[in-house]
């Protein structure tokens, strides 16, 4: 092994780099210090705000034993009390500070406030314990009111109470209640989104059901074997579309469902409907949202080709582009007005082509706004709908 490096040069270079780095570091330090000159009041304000934001982050998970315990320390330092307790309507959720032996009694201390008596001040008679060294002699209890219901209480303990502490406790309690209310809203929003997704997924267009059954009926006498085949495809299709478990599937599975759909449509269209597939085999294991491709194919058939005179072709392409897979559905049908499609994607126009807006909304919700549908169309020029999905996205699994 020969070394092609002149050792002193290497050491010199490394040394110079370290010195330059250290100088840069020093410079940025001194800059930030000169910028950060604050008065004592400002600093106190900023510190309080910072503590509040730390506590708020915990409380945004809702009012539970864990979040209360995490937030209690910050709340105590905001109140500068000796000890604080957070109770809900049933029990003590958290105790922070000295005098842990008061904890079992904290819930009964908070009873008046929990019953709706507003902020109450407790003196020695109510609070004091047998321990002569214990300095927790009085307390302020403020209720946590969310949506006009008392959901808990915040108690600040100390050797003596004054109007300042009472006021501060009341304000902090109101702030905590606001945070808990926000947590409730968060939860409701998540639930609403899940419900919306469920509703979106379970949409099989009534036209399709009607047309399929009519097509199958036309074969029952002439070709019972084919009618049976089609009926089975229809059964499989509905099972796939209506299954509850699993928000995601593989592209291979999704294409299989497109096949079922197209077999049924071909029974109606006959030779007028041609299919072209250009699928990179590497893209088949990609995880995609359930029913992301089939509604687009349905849109191509129903809006692109149904109105067209003569045969039409639907081309499904899946390309493997490194960490992403690009899927596009193209038809050579009647096309559409781009303004109309824009309206559909924005959800402003109520149209019967629910597929486009639905898939677009779901893709954006799962992968972010960058990865929605891209639609290229003009009247009489067919339509091409393209979207990309990442091969991996956090929290996206088949069969979750």
């Amino acid at each position: 092994m020969r070394s092609g490096i002149h050792l002193p040069t290497a050491v010199l270079t490394a040394g110079t780099l370290i010195v330059v780095w250290a100088l840069l570091l020093l410079r940025s330090r001194s800059r930030s210090r000169s910028r950060g000159f604050l008065s004592a009041t400002d600093r106190a304000t900023y510190e309080t705000l910072h503590t509040a934001s730390l506590a708020g982050r915990q409380l945004r998970h809702g009012l539970g034993p864990e979040s209360a315990r995490e937030a209690a320390g910050y709340l105590r330092s905001m109140l500068t009390a000796r000890a604080i307790a957070i109770c809900d309507t049933h029990a003590v959720l958290a105790w922070d500070g000295e005098g842990e032996h008061h904890r079992p009694r904290a819930h009964s201390d908070a009873q008046p406030a929990l019953r709706g008596a507003g902020t109450t001040v407790l003196d020695q008679r109510d609070v004091a314990c047998n321990d002569p060294n214990c300095e927790l002699l009085s307390a302020v209890v403020a209720p946590l009111v969310v949506d006009e219901h008392v959901v808990g209480a915040l108690t600040a303990y100390g050797p003596h109470t004054d109007a300042g502490l009472a006021r501060a406790t009341e304000e902090v309690a109101q702030w905590v209640a606001a945070q808990v209310e926000l947590a409730d809203l968060d939860q409701q929003r998540t639930r609403a989104m899940e419900a919306e997704l469920q509703a979106l997924r379970a949409q099989i267009s009534p036209h399709f059901v009607y047309n399929s059954l009519a097509a199958i009926a036309s074969f029952v006498r002439t070709d019972p074997g084919r009618a049976r085949e089609l009926l089975l495809e229809f059964a499989d299709f509905t099972r796939y579309a209506l299954r509850r478990a699993g928000q995601f599937t593989t592209l291979a599975e999704e294409l299989r469902n497109c096949e079922r759909y197209l077999v049924l449509e071909q029974a109606r269209f006959g030779d007028r409907l041609k299919i072209n597939l250009l699928i990179a085999p590497e893209s088949l294991p990609t995880t995609v949202p359930c029913l992301a491709v089939q509604p687009l194919v349905e849109n191509a058939v129903r809006h692109g080709l149904a109105g067209k005179v003569g045969p039409g072709t639907v081309t499904i392409t899946a390309r493997d582009i490194g960490a992403q897979t690009e899927i596009s559905i193209e038809d050579d049908g009647v096309g559409a007005n781009p303004e109309h499609i824009r309206g559909v994607l924005d959800g402003e126009v109520r149209s019967d082509s629910v597929g486009l807006g639905n898939v677009d909304a779901r893709l954006r919700q799962i992968y972010g706004d960058d990865l929605g549908l891209v639609v290229e169309t003009a009247p009489g020029a067919g339509m091409k709908v393209t979207f990309t999905v990442p091969k991996y996205a956090p929290g996206v699994h088949v069969s979750s």
Binding site: M1, S3, G4, I5, L232, A280, G322, Y392, V398
Partner: protein
């Protein structure tokens, strides 16, 4: 005359690579039959593709050169390169596929639910990729110089340009079939000349190799320390350990496992890879031994890595030597190109996704498209290792590749093994392990390259695997035990997902009525 053959072969390989890169999917099938379109890549084909991408300059030229220069101990290298896949098979393949991760940073994020670990993993992917790219570029320069006598930067630059173009176009790598063909091309380019040379050797009356010896040992004796490498037993075991565990951390190999439809297919693929690699490595030592027969002395100032390319001219003469040399040179360039573009793709992906795209968006206020960003990333992915490859004298191809294995075995292998098999892995533990492993491995590499030491210290720095890998495992386990609060909340659920066979969950089953 012989130049002409070789240059034609190299030109052909480069041109085909570029054409396939430019046309991409258009070369694949169009059909109207869902059954044909829905066929996933079979394990056999995927295994060929993995092997095609894995067999790099180090395998094609480096192993023969090291066997020639340093004797019997180096026969462990091809064993280690292959055994890595056995370890991968038993410990990692199926659970990794079930995790749904495409790259190593994806796995880190999925398992540990931490952006910090993801960032560290991306930095490591970039580092390992660069380290692995350096010998590919150096090998190209060396091969070009050996067959034409041109300066070595010509060959390196050629590979850099071809790799950049095909990666920036984004086409070549995506096609499993093309990479699978690469394996069979490389195998043919290595095996056919080897058989012809062996036949010529038999016709010459099978002359015995010249067996050199020096103060410390003899070329043919294992663990003799021939070539002035002391502590040969330690070095051999340490190298073997690093190769066994390093394979699972190579970024360009793991992305191919995503192509398997499920964990079972991932296992089958790995088994096939072991077979294919074994077949390939049967032929590499032949060149080393024949070199000792026909070329007892290499021309002054040439590295043993060019041995395979010089051998045909020494054994045969006239057109036969020219054709054999051209086949070997073409095969070598196929090895540089396929491995380098696989690596460049992974590195560019990591740079693009985790470093560049968000920043570029901020700077250009949303003007830069994803493709522009990826092209900048691809440029960075090839330019940095090219600069390194010209700045440093070549150390020997297999030796430099060994460094990449050392880093990967000290960082990703503990992360993967513990991440897949131990619930108690905490975020802090993973971070500590990655930092300690990468830091110490890089320090050992820099020290052993810049100021080579003798004795135990020299051996321990040159082959850090045997002490570093257990150390990193220990750091991760101890840190994780000390920080139980940082165990990701979903660890139990994630592990269930990694280890539940698909037949139980009913997901991704390619069945058809």
């Amino acid at each position: 005359m012989n130049d002409l053959y070789a240059v034609t072969a190299i030109g052909l390989v480069c041109a085909v690579t570029l054409i396939v890169g430019a046309f991409g999917l258009r070369l694949s099938r169009t059909t109207s039959d869902f059954y044909v379109a829905g066929r996933t890549v079979t394990p056999g084909r995927n295994a060929s593709a993995i092997s095609g991408e894995y067999l790099s300059a180090a395998s094609f030229l480096g192993v023969a050169g090291l066997v020639y220069a340093r004797g019997a101990d180096m026969l462990w290298l091809p064993v280690g390169y292959t055994v890595g896949y056995v370890v991968l098979l038993t410990l990692v393949a199926a659970p990794l596929r079930r995790s749904g991760a495409y790259t190593l940073p994806d796995f880190a994020e999925a398992r540990l639910e931490s952006k910090v670990v993801r960032g560290l993993s991306s930095a490591l992917v970039i580092g390992i990729g660069w380290l692995y790219l350096v010998p590919q570029f150096q090998g190209a320069g060396l091969a070009m110089a050996a067959v034409t006598g041109w300066p070595s930067w010509v060959g390196s630059l050629l590979v850099v340009v071809v790799v950049f173009l095909s990666v920036a176009a984004g086409g070549m790598r995506s096609i499993t079939l093309v990479q699978a063909m690469q394996y069979w091309l490389k195998l043919t380019a290595l095996a056919v000349p080897a058989c012809v040379l062996l036949w010529l050797w038999l016709r010459d009356g099978a002359p015995r190799p010249h067996i050199p010896a020096d103060a410390s040992g003899e070329w043919i004796l294992p663990l003799s320390g021939f070539g002035g490498y002391d502590h040969p037993t330690y070095r051999t075991y340490s190298t073997l350990l690093a190769l066994c565990l390093g394979t699972m951390g190579l970024p360009h190999v793991l992305v191919r496992f995503y192509t398997n439809p499920d964990g079972r297919a991932a296992r089958r693929t790995t088994v096939a890879v072991v077979g294919l690699l074994g077949l390939f490595y049967v032929f590499t030592p032949v060149y080393g031994v024949l070199g000792r027969v026909y070329l007892p002395e290499l021309p002054l100032g040439t590295l043993p890595d060019s041995l395979s390319l010089r051998l045909p001219a020494a054994v045969a003469d006239g057109h036969l030597a020219g054709v054999l040399g051209a086949v070997l040179a073409g095969g070598a360039f196929a090895a540089f190109l396929s491995t380098a573009s696989g690596l460049a793709m992974s590195v560019a992906g990591a740079i693009d996704q985790d470093l560049l795209r968000a920043r570029l968006k901020r700077i250009t206020s949303d003007d830069a498209s994803a493709i522009t960003s990826f092209r900048y990333a691809a440029f960075a992915a090839v330019v940095v290792p090219y600069a390194l490859s010209t700045a440093f004298e070549p150390l020997g191809l297999a030796t430099t590749v060994g460094l990449a294995f050392a880093v990967s075995s000290a960082t990703f292998s503990p992360l993967l093994v513990l991440g897949i098999w131990w619930r108690g892995l905490s975020v802090t533990g993973a971070i500590a392990g990655l930092v300690v492993g990468a830091g110490l491995a890089m320090t050992a590499i820099v020290l052993s390259v810049l100021m080579p030491q003798g004795g135990w210290l020299g051996a321990a720095l040159a082959q850090p695997g045997a002490w570093l890998i257990p150390l990193v495992f220990a750091v991760i386990v101890i840190t994780s035990l000390a920080t139980p609060g940082r165990i990701p909340k979903g660890a139990g659920r994630t592990l269930v997902r990694l280890h539940t066979p698909e037949s139980l969950t009913g997901a991704a089953h390619p069945s058809r009525r």
